[in-house]
């Protein structure tokens, strides 16, 4: 018996009861579509996050206060405030002697502040950072200038705006030279950063932040003398591991640490951050995929149900086929091909719907100014096809077996 014959028969039965057929394959359609959508959106989201992280620069090394396991999150990510990292540590790391691989380094403190200009009161984030920020983070100034090393250390009250604040606080007018009140203190706006459009790793978007000199932020806004973290820009990504070694040696010396197990700081590079985020997003993707798979199993049960019904309705047909020479294996094969074909058909429709919905979502998200790539991997399509075929085989197995065991004599008497 050739394979086309059972496919023709299934099509005939599917078309004869269109609504019932629609309900039969609906489960598989929804399951496969959700698998495709989850894979597509998961991959796009992962690509977006990783793109944003690597957008900052893959030659950056982060130094965080407090010890942490290389694989786990830094202690500060748990909301713990650790004060071991100081401005002098930053100076030691950027002096060119201790860490010769470093081109430059920047220190940071973070927080939120209320910014008032001309009656507009905006609660926004600030970054207190060193003058080296622009070089380290590859940022650009679109108007005015960034603060100088002198302004950084002598507690100058100057501010550089993220691109969005020009619109939000100054209604699009030129802010250079204007005075903005930050925490009841007057600050002169001296520059505006170029719109970056992505979030810095671990920070709010640069576009929404106000940048003030490090010491100014430490003393006037926060009343602290430690740093939230330090970033070093290494000349070449190949030098990252030796730079990390030198950073650790320098900080251990400065902090009088003999045993690396007692480190009161952590050194991270983006490669390890990318790895952690990839792991986290992978786990999320697989979790969502598991949920999608559950709906596929529900779809499979629907197919099994309808195939059992089909076997009962077609007892006489099975009897006739056996009377004219069909072997048990022929009947078994026929019903198995039918269930597989129905499931595969649902899979194909599900793939089309999944691709269309993923495409529409990508267009909508892109229209919200996110760099959201539309990714449909061929693996997800192959996996969806294989899963739908497997569902058809697994859930068609018992009905097909039942059909093959029908006695021709009893089947022909069946009313």
């Amino acid at each position: 018996m050739n394979i086309l014959s059972p496919i023709k028969i299934s099509l005939k039965y599917l078309l004869a009861a269109k609504f019932r057929s629609f309900l039969t394959i609906l489960g598989v359609v929804i399951g496969v579509a959700s698998v495709i959508i989850i894979m597509a959106i998961g991959q796009s989201a992962q690509a977006l996050i990783l793109d944003q992280i690597t957008g900052i620069g893959s030659n950056l090394i982060g130094v965080l206060p407090g010890a942490s396991d290389e694989k786990g999150p830094p202690a500060t990510a748990m909301g713990i405030s650790i004060t071991t990292l100081k401005y002098d540590d930053l100076e030691a790391l950027r002096n060119g002697k201790n860490v010769p691989e470093a081109e430059d380094a920047a220190g940071y403190v973070l927080g939120t502040v209320s910014a008032v200009y001309n009656g507009t009161d905006l609660n926004t984030s600030f970054e207190g950072t060193t003058a080296s920020y622009v070089d380290v983070e590859n940022s650009e100034i679109v108007s005015g200038r960034f603060y100088t090393k002198d302004e950084e250390t002598n507690m100058s009250r100057v501010a550089v705006l993220g691109a969005n604040l020009v619109e939000d606080l100054f209604s699009g007018t030129d802010p250079i030279g204007k005075v903005v009140k930050l925490k009841e203190q007057n600050f002169t706006v001296i520059g505006v950063l170029k719109k970056r459009g992505s979030t810095s790793f671990g920070l709010a978007s640069q576009d929404d932040a106000i940048f003030v000199p490090l010491k100014t932020a430490q003393k006037l806004f926060l009343g602290i003398d430690h740093l939230a973290f330090i970033r070093l820009k290494v000349r070449d990504t190949k030098l990252i591991s030796s730079a990390k070694e030198n950073i650790m040696t320098t900080l251990r010396e400065r902090h009088d640490i003999d045993d690396p197990a007692n480190d009161d700081f952590s050194v991270r590079d983006l490669a390890s951050a990318v790895k952690i985020i990839t792991q986290v997003t992978d786990v999320l993707r697989y979790f969502l995929l598991a949920i999608g798979t559950i709906s596929l199993i529900v779809g499979g049960v629907g197919i099994m149900n309808i195939m059992l019904l089909a076997v009962n309705q077609r007892v006489r047909e099975v009897g006739l086929r056996k009377a004219v020479g069909a072997k048990n294996s022929d009947v078994w094969t026929q019903f198995l091909i039918e269930s597989t074909f129905i499931s595969f058909l649902g899979g194909i429709i599900g793939i089309i719907i999944g691709v269309v919905i993923s495409g529409i979502s990508a267009v909508i998200i892109q229209s919200l100014q996110y760099t959201w790539p539309f990714i449909i991997s061929w693996q997800s399509i192959v996996v969806a096809c294989l899963i739908s075929i497997t569902i058809g085989i697994i859930f068609g197995f018992y009905p097909a077996y039942k059909a093959s065991k029908i006695s021709p004599m009893e089947a022909l008497r069946y009313e």
């Binding site: 056996k322 004219v324 020479g325 069909a326 021709p408 022909l412």
Partner: protein, 240 residues
């Protein structure tokens, strides 16, 4: 050698421990080219006998030789193979596949045969021609009259060129004219050398055969040649 040889054939149905004998100690031969009618009232065991002879069911006792081979030894696949190549069935309720063309219905036995697809078309058209239904090749089975359906069913029984045709009440669901046409086709096939076993409860239909086995309560009570055989010629039938 006889085409069919039956020795002490018995069939007992068992349902939830209750045994119901349907056929007891049947003994007879059927030669090639015979036209045999199995006759008897409802419940006499004639259908059971036909099902056992047609290899649709297995006897509980006795021997059944088909074309010289002991069928009791056959496994399910061998039985299916014999039904496919050596036996054709015609049923009272036609048993055509619904929503399926006349051509595909007649082609059905060939799907389970190793015939190359190219030859199928010729065989199907030849079978349809032999029952005068070649002009309905593309019709769906549910677009046919009762008589036409039975002629298509006969074409299906013939398509694999079987040794024998079993017809179970083939005129039971037909008007008298269509019934006569079917009997004429069966007689024509027999005249060309085909062995036919007809199961009926009507004396009139049985008298179109050459020999009648009478059954009652599962036993064969008489086995006689037909003295005044009826010949169906399509217009009127003549008593010989």
């Amino acid at each position: 050698m006889s085409l069919i040889q039956v020795q002490n054939l018995c069939k007992t149905y068992e349902n939830e421990g209750v045994k119901t004998p349907a056929l007891c100690k049947a003994n007879f031969f059927v030669e090639k080219g015979e036209f045999l009618a199995i006759m008897g009232p409802s419940g006499s065991g004639k259908s059971t006998l036909m099902q056992v002879l047609g290899l649709l069911d297995r006897p509980t006792e006795g021997k059944y030789f088909f074309d010289g081979r002991d069928t009791v030894e056959f496994d399910d696949d061998t039985l299916a193979n014999f039904r496919n190549k050596k036996i054709g069935f015609v049923f009272q309720s036609f048993n055509l596949l619904p929503r399926t063309s006349v051509f595909e219905n007649v082609e059905l036995p060939l799907l389970y045969d190793a015939t190359p697809d190219g030859k199928n078309k010729n065989k199907v058209l030849q079978a349809l021609k032999s029952v005068g239904m070649e002009h309905r090749e593309k019709y769906l089975s549910n677009q046919l009259s009762g008589g036409e359906k039975q002629r298509v069913a006969i074409a299906r029984a013939l398509v694999n060129d079987p040794e024998i045709i079993f017809a179970d009440e083939p005129t039971g669901n037909l008007d008298s004219k269509s019934g006569l046409q079917v009997m004429k086709i069966l007689q024509d096939l027999n005249n060309k050398g085909r062995t036919i076993i007809l199961v009926t409860h009507e004396t009139y239909t049985a008298e179109h055969a050459k020999r009648i086995i009478y059954m009652k309560d599962g036993e064969i009570v008489a086995d006689d040649p037909v003295k005044n055989r009826r010949i169906a010629d399509g217009e009127s039938e003549l008593l010989k």
